[in-house]
Assembly symmetry: C2
Homo-oligomer: 380 residues x 2
């Protein structure tokens, strides 16, 4: 595989634009300098637009999971309850993190099934300091109803923590309007930066209710907030400087496109993939209802009958296109295509065309070119 | 300040070689792919030579502090004691981390003062699950006696944790010979990679004594070890892919130079800075004795009489050379020059020459060119 000539269509890390890749290569600077502070400060300002928030935003060096960890570890002590909602791998991760630091109260749905809001409210009625959910469940291609859970969190006065890792900047995500106290994203998703940074926004309510001392030393929200408020802004521990250079450049690109325009384009691109799937007779995986939606950043589809994961993804890889398989219990049963960040119409058409080639080879292609045509119609 | 034309002589992040900066700019790859696994695996093999160890090595996405955090959080539960030795900022950080997860037993010396081994043994005699120390105390330019503390740790059967962040690859650091159970380094020091990765080695003894469940979710050594043993090797959470590309390239450079040759060069370079300081009448900061040494990676010097931090470091910055000041209680009292990784003789001579220029401007230069001449003599 020539990584310089491969199309990465997985739901993160996503393709990074050449000008962002080049920004990574600047020489090092001191992380305690005004020069670094200016970059950090500019990134935070632009990220607030991405998050649709007036809350403070911090950038931490680590994966998106570090952001989830910091949210929970800084809020939940040994005796505190946290309602953790799951319908996929990353929701279950919140349960694991909640159990690490306090009393997790899991509200568990089948992977890919919609939330039952009554069950969530029943759990909150028993009292909890916080409730955590995943907005866009990357493992199953489903977008969950953050707005509705936000209303419940407000009603029951719980700190509302939302993993927006594969969502913010791609899906509609209204941090303030939806009462989200702690929102988290990762650099390698809709921001189209390489992985290695977590971004976290914190409401005044969340800040008031932080533990006096986070349960984790490295994942400590209070330390990060204290440092970002310094002049010049800093991080408590040495940050991954090149990823900040890349973040700055990627945010410039997003601002040039327009944050709303990017979300609209991303929505259209996911629709084009769903449309291609329909034309090819491939079933979407998640179950949607009035309160849940097909994801606009990652499309999960059932493996077409008679085709193995190996044949499908291996065959596409041979043609230079990388898509994802299912995780854990969904291994071999679904495959997933990520379309967010700087993904282009050409990238999508090449992906669908490659999928058609593989299906044809396996004798499972209904009508030659039908997928590409359907996608192209949506993309315009 | 033009960051493309500035010489960074701080003790981390250090200057990164252009070929390593260019490696950062490769396109993204999936972190679950064989391609990523091959890079991770090659890095671990070379890092074992850097660490002088046969133990397993893992790479975590985060600062060096994350490595310290993971070592302590994975070993120390609420009731467990950890002896934390300090004679500077980073030793004190081990105390803070120990207090976060369990019972820290601090053995505290003045910043820059040598260890008193009797005091350390007295603390160990009261029983402790672990003992943690900083080999090279970046904040004061002192190298502490890891070999001797390792003997005490073995005698008292404690897990021996050593922060080798500004040491490994620069100073002599014999992980196995010195009985070091958990050794930690950061990418932005002697490895000459940008910041954002922590490297941690783990002995079988340390692994046996890990808590069933780390006290931190993200800083979880067992999760990292489990993932690195998979085929292909992985990380439990999405890693900072570009920094792995850079790590691989930087390790190639170190292997080409030879690991022992790099350490010898680094030692000579620090000696040249000390020699220049002497010739310029600048006093070194730390106190050394039979069991402690001037650091080979960072030289801490007292601020010359009549010169302020602002004048000295500000004046050097105007000439395009960045050196560090003192931290916390040493602010304004000392300044520090980092010489590790791919620092060249030319870099050192330019730094000393710039220092001379600033001293002359402040009327504090004894003999023009004396520092450059002394450094040059050592560098050969």
């Amino acid at each position: 595989m020539d990584i310089e000539d491969t199309l990465l269509m997985i739901p993160g890390p996503v393709k990074v634009a050449p000008r962002v890749l080049r920004a990574l290569s600047k020489p090092m600077i001191s992380h305690r300098s005004g020069e670094f502070g200016a970059i950090y400060s500019e990134c935070c300002g632009l990220l607030k637009q991405f998050f649709e928030t007036r809350n403070d935003v911090v950038i931490m060096t680590g994966s998106g999971t570090l952001g989830m960890d910091a949210a929970v570890a800084s809020t939940i002590g040994h005796e505190d309850k946290i309602v953790t909602i799951s319908n996929g791998k990353f929701g279950e991760r919140f349960t694991e993190i909640g159990e690490r630091y306090g009393q997790a109260v899991p509200v568990k749905f089948e992977w890919g099934a919609p939330y039952d809001l009554d069950k969530i409210e029943a759990a909150l009625e028993k009292g909890a300091k916080a409730v955590a959910m995943v907005h866009n469940e990357t493992s199953v291609g489903l977008t969950n109803p953050a707005k509705e859970v936000g209303k419940l969190a407000k009603k029951h006065d719980a700190v509302f923590i939302v993993d927006g890792i594969s969502s913010i900047g791609g899906n509609e995500f209204l941090t303030d309007e939806w009462n989200i106290d702690i929102a988290i994203t990762g650099s390698q998703k809709a921001l189209a930066v390489p992985p290695g940074l977590a971004v976290v926004s914190v409401s005044p309510k969340a800040e008031e209710r932080f533990l006096p001392r986070s349960s984790s030393y490295y994942a400590d929200m209070k330390a990060h907030i204290k440092s970002v408020r310094k002049s010049p802004p800093q991080t408590p521990f040495t940050p991954a400087v090149p990823l900040f250079f890349a973040m700055q450049e990627a945010l410039h690109m997003a601002a040039e496109e327009g944050f709303a325009a990017r979300r609209a384009r991303t929505a259209k691109q996911a629709e084009s993939v769903r449309s291609a799937a329909k034309a090819l007779g491939i079933e979407l995986f998640p179950t949607v209802d009035a309160n849940s939606y097909y994801s606009n950043t990652v499309t999960a589809m059932k493996m077409p009958g008679g085709v193995t994961d190996d044949k499908l993804r291996g065959g596409m890889k041979k043609q230079g296109v990388i898509v994802s398989g299912g995780q854990e219990q969904l291994k071999g049963k679904i495959f997933r295509i990520g379309t967010m960040g700087v993904c282009s119409s050409g990238d999508i058409l090449r992906t669908i065309q490659t999928l058609e080639l593989v299906l044809a080879k396996e004798g499972q292609l209904r009508a030659r070119g039908a997928g590409v045509e359907a996608a192209s119609k949506v993309l315009g």
